[in-house]
């Protein structure tokens, strides 16, 4: 079974949980920027949650399904053969039908199919690495004419089974007008003066148009004014907030480089990265310290929620057999 790309949209890539464990060799992790939208969309089609999906940016793709398929979309304005369909809900797309994703509601939308997109994994992941050109669809964004392989399964049976388990659409939470992004200070918070720290936590920042899958760039009050806080390069994590040469924060997303020489004033907690990954240019945010114990409790609770959803929705092998 396969999906044919009719129109690729602005930036559509194959993504999964990412190429975890190769940062010491310099491989960017990649993977879905908004892991919550990614996991939820996967669960909606009866997947485990880490299968490869399509991530699209701002303007989504138009796709044709060569065979009947179970599909879900989170974050777009989808239509099947021109007829609008809801987000956060599984549906059955007939052979030859066209799914258009339209404009995304936030920055990114996810399109999952039952069984996942079956491109060859590279270093244990199907994620597209746009920087080193590995994984996904020939290591690049999807183009018109690409054919993406998918699993073989009994789509009507999967669909009927899923429909019995879900009544209301399930959608990831939307951001507030001024998003509160929770952070744990450090690892280089000690390089900033009290005044600079006050600027960082007391300012409202705007998401810059220069943001991409590598990082969310911000405009607003510079944290440091003409003073370098550069360090000997060290390791970077998703969510690390670097203060760059112009004094403004850059928050690292999935495609970030593995090491860097800007000081990191704080690190966004994993539960707020999905929110951040969905902020469109011009959106406002502020940083708020969170107690690490509370952040850990929230992260574990979120994962329990996903686990119970997964248990509710996941297909047993015999249900999906063709």
């Amino acid at each position: 079974m396969a999906i044919e790309v009719i129109h690729p949209g602005l930036l559509t890539t194959v993504q999964d949980m990412g190429r975890v464990g190769h940062a010491a060799d310099g491989y960017p992790e990649c993977g879905a920027c908004d892991k919550e939208g990614f996991i939820l969309t996967n669960i909606l089609v009866g997947n485990h949650g880490d299968e490869a999906v399509l991530e699209c940016t701002c303007l989504g793709p138009v796709l044709r399904f060569t065979e009947i398929a179970v599909v879900a979309v989170c974050g777009g304005t989808p239509a099947v053969d021109g007829i609008p369909v809801p987000c956060g809900y599984p549906y059955l797309v007939r052979a030859g039908s066209t799914l258009s994703i339209g404009q995304t509601k936030g920055m990114r939308a996810y399109i999952a199919v039952h069984g996942g997109i079956a491109v060859e994994p590279v270093l244990g992941s199907r994620s597209t690495d746009l920087f080193t050109h590995i994984g996904g669809c020939q290591g690049r964004a999807c183009k018109a004419g690409d054919v993406l392989p998918t699993a073989v399964y009994n789509a009507p049976a999967v669909y009927l089974s899923l429909r019995q388990r879900i009544q209301e659409p399930m959608l990831p939470p939307a951001a507030a007008e001024i998003a509160a992004i929770h952070v744990i200070p450090g690892p280089q918070d000690d390089l900033f003066t009290a005044e600079e720290t006050q600027t960082f936590y007391g300012s409202i920042y705007k998401v810059s148009v220069d943001s991409n899958r590598m990082g969310v760039r911000l405009t607003g009050n510079p944290v440091t004014a003409g003073r370098s806080t550069d360090i000997l390069s060290d390791a970077i994590l998703e969510g690390s907030i670097q203060i760059s040469a112009n004094g403004l924060p850059i928050i690292m997303l999935a495609d970030h480089q593995t090491t860097g020489g800007y000081a990191k004033i704080a690190t966004v907690v994993p539960t707020d990265i999905p929110l951040l990954a969905q902020l469109q240019p011009g959106s406002q945010l502020r940083f708020e310290k969170i107690d690490p114990e509370l952040a850990l409790a929230r992260y574990r609770k979120k994962n329990e929620e996903w686990q119970s959803l997964r248990e509710r929705m996941e297909m047993k092998t015999d249900e999906s057999r063709p």
């Binding site: 975890v20 464990g21 190769h22 940062a23 010491a24 060799d25 310099g26 491989y27 590279v122 270093l123 080193t132 590995i134 952070v183 744990i184 450090g186 690892p187 280089q188 000997l232 390069s233 060290d234 390791a235 994590l237 969510g239 690390s240 480089q257 593995t258 090491t259 860097g260 990191k264 690190t267 966004v268 907690v269 994993p270 690490p292 952040a295 850990l296 992260y299 574990r300 994962n303």
Partner: protein, 226 residues
Amino acid sequence: MILKQAGLTGVLCVMGTEIDPAVRNRITGLTAVLRDMQLPGLVEMIPSFTSLLVRYDPLVTDASAVSRAILAIERMMSPSAEETGRVIEIPVCYGGAFGPDLPYVAEHAGLTEKEVINLHANRTYPIYMLGFLPGFPYLGGLDPKLFTPRLSSPRKAIPAGSVGIGGQQTGIYPMESPGGWQLIGRTPMKLFDPSMPLPYHAGDSIRFIPVSEEEYRQEAERWRSK
């Protein structure tokens, strides 16, 4: 050693303040012990010049458990960790089309091209970390006579395998990339290939072995047919 929290998923072990082979050896030693003891919830370890980032799964463990394990290991480790890495030989064809900036580097140093090659090759460069590109080694040990400023405007595409000098550092571009280093040679080794493990890691050392253009071509052919 100073431990710092790096968000909800990392502990940063700061083991020094300057680029120093002894610090590197201690980082390599800590990495090896943590890997061998199979710390529950350990996701990966990312070494850099003066620190090791220990990344963990917060569903399995937490910062205090990870920190306790690291501190316990540090107490057991001898303060003067020994060099444990391997020395990886990298064949390099210096100058000509492969090293278009060799004449500039020589002129800047007030040396002949031959003298630059002799100073650059056949010495051991410790690998402090990999980053920027997969397999791009940050090396110490460049002879200060060869310190050369970067190009004023970076090249758009540097061929894979190029060996260069940028400021006080030397290194290899494992894949084609933009970059601003002075290019002095090229290795025929295929360094970037996700289907194969990298030939070196942080903690190892690199030694450049000069080869002729003929040897370069033979070696490149051998890598192509692998």
